[in-house]
């Protein structure tokens, strides 16, 4: 009798568990429907950032009063198609591995003779403060649409970046002991109702995430790049403000691009 009661209780417990799971699947379907609804390129304000980036790319400025059109993003001077899919990568002229933001700042300095202080101050757009960087990154990343992430790892410095990025991904610190992997290494987990992409190994999550940034964030009314997403992650991790366009961020980007290898780029996307 006792055994029977225990068995019934167990069955009931798991029946409740299964219906909770169904409810979760339903709400995930709803979220997916919402995503599809807002992911309409014709209605995506992220393309305004792309247009702004295009203008900035050909705008003559700096002490040399030239545009960025001779800037080499890795595929040759001025060649934009597919450049984003292979970044970050090693650049012989600077003897450094650079992500797109670092490279753009380097080109502004070296090609245009532009003082980048103001550009960096406006790195993240806000109402009444447009970001050149968010525009340029959206414009350039968009030129890799339909292409797949091809992380560049032949140079020793690229390999070092990947290892450093992986170490940073699992590095726990701060008042809450958090690392990136606290949230992004558990398949299918969520924080509150927000799904968490798993970046602990090459995953569909990683490919879809990296393939959809930069993105227009409806909640922020801004086009955001992965630099901003990482800045926001570190904020939520209770870590200090991460330095914009630093080697640490680039190392993480190399690691994330490796986890997203083969992921198709379609940007700017639109997200909550």
């Amino acid at each position: 009798m006792k055994g029977w009661i225990a068995a019934t209780a167990m069955v009931l417990t798991f029946a409740v568990g299964a219906s909770a799971q169904n409810a979760q699947i339903d709400s995930e379907k709803e979220i997916e429907r919402y995503r599809a609804m807002i992911n309409d390129p014709m209605a995506n304000p992220g393309y305004l950032a792309v247009d702004r980036g295009e203008q900035l790319w050909s705008l003559a400025r700096g002490t040399k009063n030239v545009s960025l059109e001779t800037c080499d993003l890795g595929e040759g001077p001025g060649k934009l198609e597919g450049a984003y899919a292979k970044l970050p990568r090693y650049f012989a002229d600077s003897d450094r591995v650079m992500d797109l933001e670092q490279r753009l700042l380097w080109c502004m300095d070296k090609v245009q003779g532009l003082d980048t202080k103001d550009v960096v101050a406006r790195r993240f757009g806000a109402p009444g403060r447009e970001s050149d960087m968010e525009g340029l990154v959206a414009f350039i990343a968009n030129k890799s649409n339909g292409m797949k992430y091809e992380p560049q790892l032949s140079h020793p410095k690229e390999k070092e970046m990947l290892a450093a990025g992986e170490a940073l991904f699992v590095r726990r610190a701060g008042q809450l002991d958090f690392s990136c992997s606290t949230c992004h290494a558990v398949p299918g987990a969520r924080i509150r109702l927000q799904g968490l992409p798993d970046f602990s190994k090459p995953t569909k999550d990683a490919r879809e995430t990296m393939g959809s940034w930069p993105t227009y964030r409806v909640s922020q009314s801004q086009t955001r790049t992965m630099q901003h997403r990482l800045w926001d992650c570190y904020r939520q991790m209770r870590h200090p403000v991460p330095e914009y366009a630093s080697d640490g961020i680039t190392a993480l980007s190399v690691y994330m691009a490796k986890m997203a290898e083969g992921g198709e780029i379609n940007v700017p996307s639109i997200k909550r």
């Binding site: 167990m10 069955v11 798991f14 029946a15 568990g17 299964a18 799971q21 070092e160 290892a163 450093a164 992986e166 170490a167 940073l168 991904f169 699992v170 590095r171 726990r172 610190a173 701060g174 008042q175 809450l176 002991d177 958090f178 690392s179 992997s181 606290t182 949230c183 290494a185 558990v186 398949p187 299918g188 987990a189 969520r190 924080i191 509150r192 109702l193 927000q194 968490l196 798993d198 602990s200 190994k201 570190y234 904020r235 939520q236 209770r238 870590h239 200090p240 403000v241 991460p242 330095e243 630093s246 080697d247 640490g248 961020i249 190392a251």
Partner: protein, 208 residues
């Protein structure tokens, strides 16, 4: 019945997966000095108090380089060290006010670089745990704590264990991914007692 059994097995597997520390990423093949150089580049221009707050302690260092998979000897050293550092309430009372505990469980503010120094600090338990039936917006990084007190028969020694767990999760499990809320001073002793009450008070929604 077969379907139910399959679901059952599946759920058990999910439960086991969910409670295991992440093991997927390989241990990085890179020397500590090189990593430190990258870390320094990330936090190059931060104020002194943030620098101190973000300097790793021994436990964080070991959990980082082993990707939360310490050796048995390392794990023993961690739990011993962390348990010794738990400060239990002087009056021996582990259970505070469950209503305030609900606030601790719900709120996730405080301690971010966008917060003020006096911003309320919450435990944000719901970010990772299910706690009551009413709150449907809960995360799944940690196990469900639904009916936690009831499950533990409201035993005083279990409430004390819960206090220790929230104060310093690694006093019980080395490299647990749960924050050490009391140890790092993120939550006050009173807040932790209130959170324990949220788990152990018979009137708390957790046990309804």
């Amino acid at each position: 019945m077969k379907t139910l059994l399959t679901t059952l097995t599946g759920l058990a597997a999910i439960a086991i997966l969910a409670f295991t520390s992440p093991t997927q990423a390989q241990q990085p093949q890179i020397d500590a000095a090189t990593v430190d150089r990258y870390v320094a580049s990330l936090w190059a221009k931060i104020p002194e108090d943030w620098k101190q707050r973000n300097t790793q302690d021994e436990t964080q260092k070991i959990c980082s380089v082993t990707n939360n998979q310490p050796t048995d000897a390392q794990a023993k050293a961690i739990t011993a060290r962390e348990l010794a550092a738990v400060k239990f309430p002087a009056d021996g009372k582990m259970i505070g006010d469950w209503k305030k505990g609900q606030q601790v469980a719900q709120r996730g503010s405080g301690g971010q670089f966008s917060d003020q120094a006096d911003t309320y600090r919450g435990g944000n338990c719901y970010a990772c745990h299910q706690l009551s039936r009413q709150e449907l917006s809960y995360g799944t990084l940690g196990p469900s704590l639904l009916e936690y007190g009831k499950m533990k028969d409201f035993k005083p020694e279990e409430a004390k264990a819960a206090f220790a767990k929230i104060y310093n999760a690694q006093s019980q499990l080395a490299c647990s991914t749960m924050p050490r809320f009391g140890h790092t001073g993120f939550l006050t002793e009173e807040q932790i007692k209130d959170a324990v009450a949220y788990l152990f008070d018979k009137d708390s929604p957790v046990n309804k």
